[in-house]
Symmetry: C2
Subunit: 135 residues, 2 copies
């Protein structure tokens, strides 16, 4: 998961590690922070399949996100780059990639990262029919 800016908050680090741990047996979730848009684009050069999160994207239910995510993972050869957009929007060069909207509301990058991590865990639970999603 790529985003611009640093993670300075302890609670967020703890929460992200929690979901990394929960996913670890099946999905390796990595968080990569870039200093700015240029560095972000450089980091993404070698990524085959990219999905962006941006308020102007498509809004999915968790179920639709689950099927979309696993299809994209397959298309990416089990690797997938998820990009959290900045408040001022995505860099122009990323606009050709599909974009998903988490909400009409604006979230902080920190919150968006955490929500995406939880939705990935939920997507796995939906795919595998685990009770987590409805609890």
């Amino acid at each position: 998961m790529y985003s611009v800016g640093k993670n300075k908050e302890k609670w967020l680090q703890d929460a992200l590690e929690l979901y990394q741990g929960r996913l670890s047996s099946q999905i390796k979730l990595k968080f990569i922070w870039s200093k700015n848009s240029n560095q972000l684009l450089k980091f993404l050069e070698n990524e085959k399949k990219i999905i962006c999160f941006d308020p102007v994207g498509f809004s999915f239910t968790s179920e639709k996100f689950s099927s979309y995510l696993f299809k994209a993972l397959e298309e990416g050869g089990t690797q997938l780059a998820l990009v959290i957009g900045e408040a001022q929007g995505l860099p122009e060069a990323l606009k050709k990639h599909p974009a998903i909207s988490l909400s009409k509301m604006v979230f902080t990058h920190q919150m968006a990262r955490l929500i995406v991590a939880e939705q990935i865990y939920r997507a796995l639970a939906i795919k595998e029919g685990l009770p987590y999603h409805l609890s």
Copy 2:
């Protein structure tokens, strides 16, 4: 802010306290957990103005949420009860109150609580024209 279930996660407690602190000079944000729907309804008996968060509610932008929130606070005589719905939906008795949807996606109660806390802080920043909302 009312919800059903306990908060057992340290990272969430830390994050909620962060927003409580940030809001404290202008808004006193209290988190109240009830054991079940019956206790929730009992707790709400003395509340004058109630707004629920539920996936089937209206979806607002952060700007619309800001104006809606401060209007509701006025109507409530500066007090407002925010209720986070459960995965299985809101108790029937609460369906007469206005409901706001954070996302088409399903979030955990924990995540919903944190998002609402952050949106309240954002709503205040929007109302006061503070740069937080666009940073």
